[in-house]
Symmetry: C2
Subunit: 449 residues, 2 copies
Amino acid sequence: MNLTTFGLTPFVLADVGEISESVIFFTLLLSAIVIFSISYFCEEVCTRLRLSPVLGQLISGIILGVSALKILVFTDGDMAINPMVIDLICQTTGASTQEAVIAYSHQLTAISEGVANLGVIALLFVIGLESDLDHSVKVGPQAAIVAGAGVVLPFIGGTVGLMTLFSVATLPAIFGGAALTATSIGITAKILKELGHLQSEEGQIIIGAAVLDDLLGILILAVVVSLVKDGSIDVANLVYLLLGTTVFVAAIALLRTQIAKAFDAITQKFQSDNGPLLLAILLALAMAAIANIIHLEAILGAFAAGIILSGTRQQATLLHELEPVTALIAPVFFIVVGAKTDLSVLNPANPGSIEGLWMAAFLIVVAVIGKVTAGYLIPSAKLNRLAIGIGMVPRGEVGLVFVGIGASVDILSNMLTAAVILTVVVTTLIAPVLLPLALPNGIATEQKA
Amino acid sequence: MNLTTFGLTPFVLADVGEISESVIFFTLLLSAIVIFSISYFCEEVCTRLRLSPVLGQLISGIILGVSALKILVFTDGDMAINPMVIDLICQTTGASTQEAVIAYSHQLTAISEGVANLGVIALLFVIGLESDLDHSVKVGPQAAIVAGAGVVLPFIGGTVGLMTLFSVATLPAIFGGAALTATSIGITAKILKELGHLQSEEGQIIIGAAVLDDLLGILILAVVVSLVKDGSIDVANLVYLLLGTTVFVAAIALLRTQIAKAFDAITQKFQSDNGPLLLAILLALAMAAIANIIHLEAILGAFAAGIILSGTRQQATLLHELEPVTALIAPVFFIVVGAKTDLSVLNPANPGSIEGLWMAAFLIVVAVIGKVTAGYLIPSAKLNRLAIGIGMVPRGEVGLVFVGIGASVDILSNMLTAAVILTVVVTTLIAPVLLPLALPNGIATEQKA
């Protein structure tokens, strides 16, 4: 199995052509204005309704995306764009319709996805930077329990249920079950941060477990895609992946203090103002690339870079400087996730959707119960175990990666694809609503945090 | 004449194709790492050598670009990319050579140029935000003198010299002369800011004059391109452009205080944390788009938005939050300008370059003398008139826009194109070297400003 097929979402690139830079520039401005104004509006509304801004960003993405306005469209590219946008570009810049479509889809696919990718990297880097590792080590065993049970329960429940209740064939059923395993660190961590619970014991367990179940989820995905492709598991690649993960984690654990000291020593000799900030970003990008090279998720590398730099003297300064940068680019990630979600499969008027809706309802129940049960398996009754379980519910970007890979290897039926997408949407949407209810004391610290 | 042809640089878009997202993501990380590490290195070296960081960024662009490493390549796209980069992508991600080339040029053209464009907008917005308008109005007449003379002298000197000394035909000679008119606000303002001279009377005159000669340069460009295309001036478009400019400037002058008050009133009602920052960015983007729509440079719109918000209560907070954002994205603009500059035309070993080198030498002399003379035309001997003239010298992005348009309307010979590019490079490179010498008292305030 070739692990580089991970994250395979059909990515439609623009046609070859020479488009005037002024057209490109105007479409860039237009895209930025639309994204910023709608996300700002939704964030403000969510804040006033005491909902999570992440929810606002996801909803603005859904409003902008394929489901509604069709202003932010990623798949099927050209044909799917709202014609009003294209008309506006043509009338303003004098470009032809074809030029406007190419320029717009070019700007959208590359810049929105690029900024979204950098945004989730920045977010995980900042979350790592804010972490208190001594605290995290204490919660390690609990996190392992939550992660292990949170992967096994939805995986088995989903697979068996799809086979018995919906007569899905074995391989697609395994794929559907596997898509339920991995928690979205990005969404969960952002919600916890907004609730002021990132440093609480519950928050640390959730983040630790989310990191672990991402690793487990990636392994399961490797096995499943391998099964789909060859009918057998490619042991060499699996061993490589396990070895790579082990070496990566061990190297960070061993070299963490040395790298932090080296960072302090180097930055002390800097004369240019932005030296420390640039070097920190460089480390985050480099570790993201290394994670990518050894076939882990890039965001795990950025997260590890943040953890390393949390031990430096520059921690507070870096956090302070990265705050506005992250505030500007991280929302783009959630907007893009929302925009890529096609809610038209929800339409109950379409008879073809009905079985998909039932399948989705089943997967959602398994996804939620699996993670909440995993939370309750923690032996300590002092902890808010319900909150831990709910914190593990959102599947977000990881679930969407599974859907993309499923599409690329032609294993998922349209119905199962729709059901998995719905599960991702619902699990992602309910966590920001439920978590503040399960962690009520966090609300007070959220204001102007 | 169709003014939407402004800024026409051949923009090669990638081939249609489906590239895996992991390949796109890895190339994004790779591009970001290369850009950040080389620009960081050059900035640190320049700071230690007491040169301007802008110079470091331009040089890092030249090192990364077509002239040397060919890692950041914009024209002729695919063929010109350093094969080592492509090999690295192929070996790491398992992509085919073709996929790697498409992914890489896709990421490069869209993201580098997109971020560069947003970077120069952010830069001008911040410069506007820092401005002290009461102070600027006082220097208005001096700025008008510098701008007027600084446009007329290089235009006439360049055109007549090209015709008489180098036997260039009338239209290309006019184009060559016109390319010498407009100062690069972005580069000049950044240098002044680093020298701590943005608020000095000299700094205010330079910025004011740079804004004015950009407007004048755009008008001349409109006329010249119209001459080249039709053999006559399109009066309707010219009137439209003049009217648009007048209305834009008048509207800002009249509504400035009201918009600032409205901004303060709205942001006071905000509940979401990032509301004021997002609204400010939205205003900057919207005014950039409006400027673009009425065929002015977008950066003038962002600059105007900054001036408007400099009158709000949020000024200090906004500046504080935008500082790290600008520090990260504005350098990309200067890196891209450097990367697009092909220094291979400098090669004196190539006999075809010799006349081009003489032509360039002539244009450089006219470009420098024209602006320095314009500085000395200010009646007040108390001002550092040499510094004002030198501050007007860099042509930067505006000169490159002229070159791009010249290429698109097939009016410039290769030799004249090369000579104009060289003039842009040299005028852009010498200002950061000479300005600190002409404004020596600024050096002290530069440290950790």
